[in-house]
Amino acid sequence: MSEQSLAIRKFSDLANPTRFLALSAIVWPWMAAATALFFAIGLYLCFSTVGDYQQGETVRIMYIHVPAAWLSMMCYSVMALSALGTLVWRHPLADVSAKMAAPIGACFTFIALITGSLWGKPMWGTWWVWDARLTSVFVLFLMYLGLIALNRAVDDPTRAARVSAILILVGFVNIPIIKFSVDWWNTLHQPASVIRLDGPTIDPEFLRPLVVMAIAFTLLFFTLHILAMRNEILRRRVATLRRLAARAAGHGAAAREETLR
């Protein structure tokens, strides 16, 4: 028991908020720079490649849509990992990570939905099609919003983190089921064509910018996530200081004299 708690304490030391702040302060400018670099290359590639002979210029929407959709799922995985951290190690940094990833994930999911819709208009002639993948992403979007609502509804941050973590994990177990059922329900979309066991079937012409953009989006996510976590840590520190101030006022003159002395 004591050995285990010692190990946990060591782990906590490595990832305590102060150390995280110090480390992230060094890391985030580099990540931001890398993000900008990859975006520059990616966007250049996006617009320098030729359009698809069937889809024309609209194929370029894919370079935003696919990475955003990929991130909407990766972000949920990050949240699920953080949720494990919250429930198993009860680590406050994991709470912060899960809480801060949700709005970012919701944004990327929203971007995926919007670009999917924009892509759908020229392709299918309508803004919205109830096809399997769009629908799954839409359900994912609803789950993100539900999680954000839950987190906002509970006032005690530790408790909020724990109940959210449970819901995140329930959702994580459910996502494959939802995906499968929605696929069953309707499949109109092109079959998944980037990641397949027998290798990508997409033309390398399109693949190169897509990969660069995917890396750029991933870097963007982690940069935003780190910055959001820094903000949340600082926010909680402010809350603690305010509470201390309230406490000091409550203790009255005696305590104040003592401090003055």
């Binding site: 908020p17 102060t18 406050p92 005690d156 941050p157 530790t158 840590i233 909680r236 520190r237 809350a239 603690t240 200081l241 509470r243 201390l244 406490r247």
Partner: protein, 215 residues
């Protein structure tokens, strides 16, 4: 059997409510927890009952004999501020539910429902819906709940708040009888319970706001 708490501390939100609380009570002994409002009496009792996580320290049962309790909580009755009885059900249904659902811990057995109602001085009205009783009667019936299923440890949070003197005496008698059967009791209270010589634990107040939590 003894209930031992070692260097307990607990936090609520970001605040450390108390820390390094230790006590040790044996069979037939009672511990009265005293302190001003907000000093963490209720929190301490809920930590002992396993309803709140503890920050440090441990609570354990020592020398429980043949039957080892799985958790400390399963050896305890908890009488909190709320009565844990359903207004829509009759008193008898309420008590029977807790008798059946909780069951007896090893070592002794609870008394019957009518006997328990008699013991709290409210025999003969167990057929009424719980919601029809007055606040004082409801509280007494919640105490009867402690009697219908045997638990060696009673955890009592302000048990006699809003009760009249007669009911207080009655309750003191119940606790004494419980202690004489080899039970243990922890009570948080402002009023004297009239238990005679008991151990006392004074809680001072806020330990500290844990500034280091996010430092």
């Amino acid at each position: 059997m003894r209930l031992v708490a070692e260097r307990l501390s607990a936090r609520r939100g970001e605040d450390l409510i108390f820390r390094d609380i230790s006590f040790d009570i044996g069979a037939g002994e009672a511990l009265v927890v005293k302190g001003p409002n907000g000093s963490g009496k209720s929190t301490l009792l809920r930590v002992v009952a396993g309803l709140l996580p503890r920050e440090t320290g441990k609570v354990r049962l020592v020398g429980e004999g043949d039957h080892a309790f799985e958790t400390v909580a399963s050896a305890c009755h908890y009488l909190g501020h709320r009565n844990a009885m359903k207004r829509e059900l009759t008193v008898e249904e309420n008590l029977r539910f807790w008798k059946d659902f909780a069951g007896d811990s090893a070592g002794d057995s609870g008394i019957g429902i009518d006997a328990a109602a008699d013991a709290v001085g409210l025999g003969g009205i167990v057929h009424l819906p719980f919601g029809y009783l007055s606040a004082g009667q409801q509280r007494r019936m919640a105490m009867a709940k402690l009697l219908v299923a045997w638990r060696p440890v009673w955890i009592l949070d302000e048990p006699t708040a809003a009760l009249d003197a007669a009911a207080e005496t009655m309750f003191a008698g119940l606790v004494k009888a419980h202690l004489s059967r080899g039970g243990l009791a922890i009570a948080a209270t402002h009023q004297p319970l009239g238990l005679g010589a008991v151990k006392e634990l004074h809680m001072a107040g806020f330990a500290e706001a844990s500034a280091e939590a996010w430092a």
